[in-house]
Symmetry: C2
Subunit: 157 residues, 2 copies
């Protein structure tokens, strides 16, 4: 999946997430890619994704960290289990907890870069630390505890 | 301010926040009101605010907790300092850290209720714990460390 985002391997019925679903036309549709041992995402906020004028809305920052981290958890579990994503659907994680430290105001305008680092990986739980940078400077740090989605959560389409 | 939301007392130039600014036409425009010693907000997500189909997007939950908690911090400091909001602008807080525990999937459809409880209040820092419920059941718990916005963050209009 070096050239394809992990979100493009989610099954269709799990691709409506506001943050990362490719089929949610109102959503952010973020894309996360392996880069060595890190997973990277670039996203440029819209002008209305503002908090104090000139700075990015903290809720958007939390949303980006959340979806990029659960996506990174899916990518990491697929890699650890040698899942061939061309023939098998990607695993799908949900968020058990999300922590974001806002280190400095994030300027609104330039593309944001998220970098996820896998801290711990188990069969059903992955811990991910993610930084969010603008203009090469880290503006926020997040930690997500991602758990494999319970199968009974999915309703048949 | 018993009948008016704290967000309605933010100065115009600080009312463009995507989550709680009354002047952001693309935003969520949440409203937070005192109810005894708690601050309460109701919000009904749109159908596209989804994660897994049938459930509310976790990033939206984080956004609601974030803005409702900073609003509650502003309301609490105003009350503690006996600020008359009819003549003086409300203080404005930004988020230093945000922690959300997702206790169970939040059903998409019913209105959500957020209840904020002030844990600690100092001149420039307020700690707020907020629950988010649907159908009377708590689905997520958050803690926000809110700090008074640095004055140099605001650009002249």
């Amino acid at each position: 999946m070096s050239n394809q985002a992990i979100q493009d391997y989610y099954p269709d019925q799990l691709s409506y997430c506001y943050g990362c679903g490719r089929l949610n036309e109102h959503g952010l549709q973020i894309k996360s890619y392996w880069q060595g041992d890190e997973v990277v995402c670039h996203f440029t906020p819209k002008p209305y994704h503002t908090a104090i004028p000139g700075y990015v809305y903290g809720g958007l920052i939390a949303s980006l960290i959340d979806c990029h981290s659960t996506g990174s958890a899916a990518a990491a579990l697929a890699r650890a289990k040698n899942i061939n994503l061309e023939v098998e659907a990607a695993p799908r994680f949900v968020t058990a907890s999300l922590k974001v430290d806002y280190l400095r105001p994030t300027p609104l305008g330039p593309p944001l870069e998220l970098r996820a680092h896998i801290v711990e990986i188990k069969e059903r739980k992955v811990v991910v630390q993610t930084t969010l940078s603008a203009n090469g400077e880290i503006c926020a740090k997040g930690e997500v505890v991602a758990v494999l989605m319970p199968e009974n959560l999915v309703k048949d389409p």
